[in-house]
């Protein structure tokens, strides 16, 4: 099956480099907000700007390389292969990845108030169910025991105080024992 030029790695490189150029322009504008230091030989904004310029030069190279490849594309060229898709309507894998990212974002949001053990239980159980683990015994035992075990090791042996949220009484109980 012939691959359309817009589905090739060369085209995806073109799009990515265009997005990177936008990012670099944005970063340059942000660097203007960095305050200057009086009588400084090297201003605080100098080093980040050198990095933005460096990034910009190689992004431009990638952009030009991609255009050249797209114009004279040959079969067998590694960049003529099909690129990874980001189409959530056609690719269930990407949709699942975005779902995991959303779960992680929710995890960060709830971590402090709900507590590590409870949010980890839900995160672990949902992802296991998502990727095909249907045994309730395995699903529940792993989702409960791993976060509890990790909390215990970090709290008791490594003295890392992890938010327990609604399970705070459990920590009080461990402290008493």
């Amino acid at each position: 099956m012939e691959i359309k030029k817009t589905q090739t790695k060369a085209f995806s490189n073109l799009i990515v480099s265009a997005l990177l150029i936008v990012f670099e322009i944005w970063a340059w504008i942000q660097s203007n907000a960095i305050k200057t230091a009086k009588s400084a030989t090297v201003q605080p904004a100098t080093f980040p700007r050198i990095m933005i310029i460096g990034m910009g030069v190689f992004t431009a190279i990638l952009f030009i390389q991609s255009i050249i490849k797209l114009i004279g594309m040959k079969a067998g060229d590694p960049l003529a292969q099909k690129a990874e898709s980001m189409n959530v309507f056609k690719d269930r894998g990407t949709l699942a990845a975005l779902f995991v990212i959303a779960l992680c974002a929710l995890y960060v949001y709830l971590f402090k108030n709900v507590g590590y053990v409870v949010v980890s239980f839900f995160l672990c159980a949902i992802i296991m169910w998502l990727i095909g683990l249907r045994s309730p015994a395995k699903l529940l035992s792993i989702s409960i025991l791993v976060p509890l075990g990790m909390w215990f090791v970090f709290y008791k042996f490594l003295t890392v105080n992890i938010p327990m949220g609604i399970l705070q009484p459990l920590r009080d109980l461990v402290d008493k024992i």
Partner: protein, 510 residues
């Protein structure tokens, strides 16, 4: 050198049951801590130092060195098994270690890492014993010019770890260097790219970024592959560990990598401020550069693991050199060790070689013992560690995720770091998807602050005239070597791309 005193010190240390036990316990604790993403050897030593308060000097130093050496090796376990380097200095181990595990050679990768760590540690300890005053003298002459060029030399390695596209590798590197500038600038404390977020003032924490880029990104990509049907959720390694140490054939194959890695690690470790995290990449690039088959590096070969792990543990000996001979710690762990010495009433420095020579020799022996203890613990644990990858992917991925996120939190006990970890997980996933290499970001994050601080310091000292650098011969030496590495890596990469293109063309014709 007083050979009689040296041998009697070795005998005293190796035959003292308390020192033996403490060193073994330290090594076991260090391996376990190092294997947990987010827990570094520095944290391990800092956490366990209170236990050494009541002990005599040598058992307590044995305990701390055991943790140090164990932690350095332990970091490679999670790098190989779950793509999450336990410590920053194990970051380069995953370049070949993880692909080996994916090919069903996790046990072999672990045994190579363990054996190389041991050999690298022994090389470091031997060099420390014989060359410590000399090496320390050279390293201590380094000014901001030499440190700047050392950072540039470290960065020259980027091309050889960039993979197929050098442009993408360099974009990643500059992006990593840009990330280093987030927070207060190191000289004038002006805010840069903080967007009013208080947690960003201190800059991005390295470990959460590291865990995000590698472990979280791997979990997201793994779920994507399983749902898209490109990977089986029930997939698990059925590898049986038949031996805990590498076979003779493998040892012969990796011998030169171990030797060069150990030497590189020791010398870089001896430079204050430059530790295992830099040494591993330099060693990897050096060994890849001299390899007959550089195209195989990064695909899962024992040479890659050996070159990084030997350099990693070689640093432990190297970092002790300035500590003992000048009283200046070579890295964060030796800074804590310096505190332990002072607590026991001993002031490391040139006078220690005059007034406390028996103690100096006992410390040499304790480092050798710590490496031996690490080997014993590693041998005992290889089978257990390898069992981790025998878990089904549908159980392994969620476990990796919750362990990694907790690791990110544990560094500063800050929920913001979990957010950073997830954010960089997404960045890492996207970069992998569009074939941008991740390792250059890592190297840039390590070397960026060193590069900027010394650049600013050098320019301030020389009234903004960069041309003054020609008056620093060691710095020029580093620069010349860096240029050589870049040219050599470019030629090497061209050869690799040509070979791969030829292979691909052959495949198409078939």
């Amino acid at each position: 050198m007083d050979w009689n005193l040296l041998f009697s010190s070795y005998a005293n240390v190796f035959l003292d049951p308390t020192t033996l036990l403490m060193t073994l316990l330290g090594a076991a604790g260090g391996v376990l801590l190092g294997a947990i993403p987010g827990m570094t050897a520095t944290m391990g030593v800092a956490l366990l130092i209170p236990f050494s308060f009541g002990m005599d000097l040598i058992p307590s130093i044995g305990l701390l060195l055991g943790i140090y050496c164990g932690g350095m090796y332990g970091g490679s376990i999670s790098a190989i098994l779950i793509h999450a380097p336990g410590t920053p200095s194990a970051a380069a181990t995953l370049l070949d270690g993880y692909p080996m595990a994916q090919k069903g050679e996790a046990g072999r990768a672990l045994s190579v890492a363990m054996f190389s760590s041991f050999c690298g540690g022994v090389i470091g300890a031997l060099i420390m014993t014989f060359l410590s005053p000399l090496v320390a003298k050279v390293a201590m002459k380094f000014t901001s010019a030499e440190m700047l060029m050392l950072a540039v030399f470290g960065l020259s390695v980027i091309i050889s770890i960039s993979g197929k596209s050098i442009a993408k590798g360099l974009i990643s590197a500059f992006f990593g260097m840009l990330l280093c500038t987030i927070g207060l600038d190191p000289t004038y404390s002006k805010q840069r790219f903080t967007f009013g977020v208080t947690s960003l003032k201190g800059g991005l924490s390295f470990i959460p970024v590291l865990i995000g880029l590698f472990a979280v990104a791997e979990v997201i990509a793994g779920v994507e592959r399983i749902i898209a049907g490109r990977e089986s959720a029930q997939a698990k390694s059925k590898e049986k560990i038949t031996r805990v140490l590498p076979d003779i054939h493998t040892i012969k194959m990796i011998f030169s990598n171990i030797l060069s890695g150990g030497i590189i690690g020791t010398f870089i470790g001896a430079i204050p401020g430059a530790g295992g995290d830099i040494a591993v990449f330099v060693s990897y690039a050096f060994n890849k550069g001299i390899s007959k088959h550089p195209e195989k590096w990064g695909t899962g070969i024992p040479n890659g693991v050996a070159s990084t792990e030997s350099a990693n543990n070689g640093c432990s000996g190297g970092a002790m050199i300035p500590l003992l001979s000048l009283g200046v710690p070579g890295d964060s762990v030796t800074a804590i060790l310096l505190g332990a010495f002072i607590m026991k009433g001993i002031q490391p420095g040139p006078m220690m070689y005059v007034s406390e020579l028996p103690t100096v020799y006992k410390v040499f022996a304790a480092l050798m013992l710590a490496n031996l203890a690490m080997l014993l613990v590693g041998c005992a644990g290889v089978r257990i560690f390898a069992k981790i990858v025998s878990l089904e992917k549908r159980m392994l991925y969620p476990i990796i995720l919750i362990v990694s996120l907790l690791g990110a939190f544990s560094i500063n006990k800050n929920v913001f770091d979990i957010g950073v970890c997830v954010f960089f997980g997404v960045i890492g996933w996207l970069m992998n998807k569009y074939e941008f290499p991740l390792s250059p970001i890592l190297l840039a994050l390590i070397l960026g602050p060193m590069c900027e601080q010394n650049f600013v310091r050098f320019m301030d000292l020389n009234q903004g005239n960069f041309g003054e650098i020609i008056h620093y011969p060691i710095a020029i030496g580093f620069f010349v070597v860096a240029v050589g590495v870049v040219i050599f890596s470019l030629i090497n990469q061209k050869k690799i791309n040509e070979r791969e293109a030829a292979n691909a063309a052959g495949f198409v014709q078939e």
